[in-house]
């Protein structure tokens, strides 16, 4: 049984708004009384995904759903897709621009942070199509 299912669009390139979707999802989790340790893990995973959408993608969306057992975050973008997933999952590897690095991003920790915080993590990517990430977190 799914209690909540929401979809939030994320715009490419809008660094000022980056984090707004994660903040909304965090507020919803707190209102529902989800344990703080779970809220924290979901927040880290969602924020990293949101930043990636803003920095690297051509725009996308974050789907947020809660069932009594788990929280699922699905992140789907409209491209450009990741040519080498193995490299992208390596801590320290990043294709971020200097401008983004100067803001403290592009440390190559986004995807590893997502994987580390989620109980289940899957990523599929096709160049020219886009990237599809699902993270689930046991409550």
């Amino acid at each position: 049984m799914t209690m909540i299912k929401e979809t939030y669009p994320v715009k490419a390139g809008d660094m000022t708004a980056a984090g707004d979707v994660s903040a909304r999802i965090k507020r919803q989790m707190k209102q529902l009384g989800i344990p703080a340790s779970v809220v924290r893990r979901v927040s880290v995973g969602t924020y990293e995904a949101e930043i990636n959408l803003v920095i690297h993608s051509e725009g996308g969306r974050i789907d947020f759903s809660i069932s009594p057992e788990k929280i699922t975050i699905r992140v789907v973008d409209q491209g450009p897709g990741i040519p080498d997933l193995k490299k992208a999952m390596t801590e320290g590897w990043s294709t971020a621009t200097n401008e983004v690095r100067n803001m403290g991003f592009g440390a190559g920790m986004g995807l590893p942070n997502m994987k580390r915080n989620a109980d289940e993590f899957t990523i599929e990517s096709t160049v020219g199509v886009g990237t599809d990430i699902t993270m689930s977190f046991n409550i």
């Binding site: 660094m15 000022t16 980056a18 984090g19 707004d20 994660s22 903040a23 965090k26 703080a36 924290r40 927040s43 880290v44 924020y47 990293e48 930043i51 803001m103 403290g104 991003f105 592009g106 440390a107 190559g108 920790m109 986004g110 942070n113 580390r116």
Partner: protein
């Protein structure tokens, strides 16, 4: 250590105005936001030279006790307004990050957990 104690000892300026005092559970200094996302803990005092909107997002998501900006580095009014809106205590100090770590350490604040 309470945030108010730190402000007093460091001679800091609370940019976000009036605040509800809270306990600082641990401290951390780092300017890589992804690194902070990975290591950050609730009630942490975070010292960083980064002063943009995403710093507030990270501090709010992880429920940090305060964000401390060293060396009186400039912070835009829009950032301060966002911090106040998110109930993030933002403190500006004249000292370097190194000196501010010492203030926290002398006050008995441990480092954020390693690993």
């Amino acid at each position: 250590m309470q945030v108010s104690e730190f402000v007093k000892l460091a001679g800091g300026r609370v940019l976000t105005g009036e605040y509800e005092d809270r306990e600082i559970a641990c401290g951390y200094t780092c300017d890589l936001l992804s690194h902070v996302m990975g290591k950050g803990q609730a009630d942490m005092a975070w010292i960083t030279v980064q002063a943009h909107m995403n710093v507030i997002a990270v501090a709010a998501l992880l429920d940090f006790a305060c964000v401390i900006i060293p060396e009186n580095l400039p912070v835009d009014e829009t950032i301060i307004a966002k911090a106040a809106q998110e109930d993030i205590i933002m403190i500006s100090c004249e000292q370097t990050a190194f000196e501010l770590v010492n203030v926290l350490h002398e006050g008995g604040v441990p480092s954020a957990k390693k690993g």
